[in-house]
């Protein structure tokens, strides 16, 4: 969006251009958002601006687990109630939120900040793999749960990590892959179905 309309005030045109740089925002959406901000109460607009500045100033990566945090080390890493013998490796900080929502996991995390994607030129050196290996040397961790996405990049990342961690003698597990809750069996692809069959479990209470 190079052309700046002469009929648009310069500060507004600048705001439209800034919105346009965001992912998933096209020229029309950028204009709509900018005009919405223009009409909103000044206090709300200032609050939004402060939130943006604050997030850039105060939020950093936890030096231990690489999750986003405002205190370093983060609250999960310093929580003495958590099981320190088990570590869950995820691709993105948002995956931690999803896992925490379940309330079923009480161990530690490690965020890779991406997945290996050879065709896009993203290799192990572009992820927080070295930091993971450094953490595992402390001897406290007994099990690693590989919780990368069940797609091509996630599987490649898991295979790579298990190859790397295997020689350390830790228990390496992978999140179960199979049929999603609410799905129909007839629509499942053969890889998913095969993995669901491999991971089948005994029914309790028969």
């Amino acid at each position: 969006m190079n052309e700046r309309s002469t009929s648009t005030a310069a500060p507004l045109a600048r705001l439209i251009e800034e919105f346009y740089r965001l992912p998933g925002i096209g020229p029309k959406s950028a204009q709509r958002l900018a005009y919405y901000l223009l009409r909103m109460p000044a206090a709300d607009a200032h609050s939004l601006a402060e939130a943006i500045v604050e997030v850039k100033d105060k939020v950093t990566l936890c030096s231990v687990c690489q999750n986003v945090t405002e205190v370093d080390p983060c609250r999960i890493c310093t929580d003495s109630a958590r099981d320190r013998s088990i570590m869950c490796v995820v691709e993105e900080p948002l995956d931690i939120l999803a896992l925490e929502r379940t309330g079923s996991y009480h161990g530690l995390y490690h965020v890779l900040h991406g997945a290996i994607s050879p065709m896009d030129g993203i290799g192990p050196d572009d992820l927080k793999v070295r930091e993971l290996l450094d953490r595992l040397r402390d001897g406290e961790t007994k099990e690693i749960i590989l919780a990368t996405n069940p797609n091509l990049e996630g599987e490649a990342t898991s295979m790579y990590l298990s190859r790397l961690i295997g020689p350390l003698g830790l228990r390496v597990t992978r999140l179960a892959r199979g049929l999603p809750a609410g799905g129909d069996l007839e629509y499942a692809d053969d890889v998913t179905l095969t993995r669901a069959l491999e991971g089948r479990q005994e029914m309790d209470g028969a």
Binding site: P118, L152, A156, G182, Y187, D189, V191
Partner: protein, 261 residues
């Protein structure tokens, strides 16, 4: 290329994907009838998507598509072959991704090429089944270069046009192929090409895959031919293939592990 109906079906190999918006993906497909094309897959990043399992890169599938304004939209999909053997082995997976990326880089959009489709399909099958996946990769590279119109000249010297002597010659990617000893001075980036290297390159170019698969390759010769083909591909594309860097990474780590053991 046949005209597409508003709703149409095609077989395809999924070469790659990229995220779009909240839960969509844009897929790069390689089809027998329409060549390489892009299509949108809506909602496939959600766990409840019925299509997501079928629409993974390297899958060969039967697709139903609806014509869209910008790109066509996938409305149905069934897997024909998921090449599972490639997905469960990191070394094979990295090579299969190399095949997909090179196909993407070497082919133009909407140009039908049935021989190239067959070549890609056969190569994925060979990678899965062959005890020597790198040989399948070299055959693929040479044949793809040929089909894409970048066949390297290895019969005669690219500079003087004379037949090559049965001795060690040179390979100059920028010049387009083999160079004899007399013409080498002044050429950019020539590398020594052994007589066996030349013979193997010719076999890859003229022979069938079965002929190539029968050859027992010493590691040094395999390395030499890989080097020549890679440098030639880089000179054609004016860039390296990303997946090749990952194959190198795995090889380096494999070698390091062996030394440590």
């Amino acid at each position: 290329m046949p005209p597409r109906a508003r709703l149409y079906k095609t077989e395809a190999i999924i070469l790659r994907w990229r995220k779009l918006g909240e839960a969509d993906r844009i897929l790069t497909l390689f089809t027998p009838a329409f060549g390489k094309m892009e299509a949108k897959a809506k909602g496939v990043r959600k766990t409840t998507s019925r299509l997501s399992g079928h629409l993974q890169p390297l899958n060969r599938c039967q697709l139903q598509l609806a014509q869209g304004h910008v790109s066509d939209v996938i409305t149905g999909c069934e897997t024909i072959d998921s090449f599972r053997g490639l997905r469960d082995d990191l070394d094979l997976l990295s090579r299969a991704l190399y095949v997909a990326e090179l196909t993407d880089l070497m082919t133009a959009d909407h140009v039908q090429s049935l021989p190239t489709y067959r070549l890609v399909l056969d190569t994925l099958g060979r990678l899965e089944a062959s005890p020597a996946p790198d040989t399948a990769l070299r055959f693929f590279e040479m044949q793809l270069l040929d089909q894409a119109g970048f066949r390297p000249e290895i019969e005669r010297c690219v500079s003087c046009g004379n037949a090559l002597e049965p001795v060690d010659n040179f390979f100059a990617p920028v010049a387009g192929g083999a160079v004899c000893r007399q013409c080498v001075p002044g050429l950019a980036g020539p590398r020594v090409m052994t007589l066996n290297g030349l013979k193997l390159l010719r076999l890859l170019q003229r022979g069938s895959y079965n002929d190539v698969a029968r050859v027992n390759l010493p590691p040094a010769l395999a390395e030499e031919v890989e080097r020549h083909l890679r440098s030639y591909i880089i000179s054609v594309l004016e860039r390296d293939v990303n997946a090749a860097a990952f194959i190198d990474h795995l090889r380096r780590e494999g070698a390091r592990t062996k030394i440590e053991v």
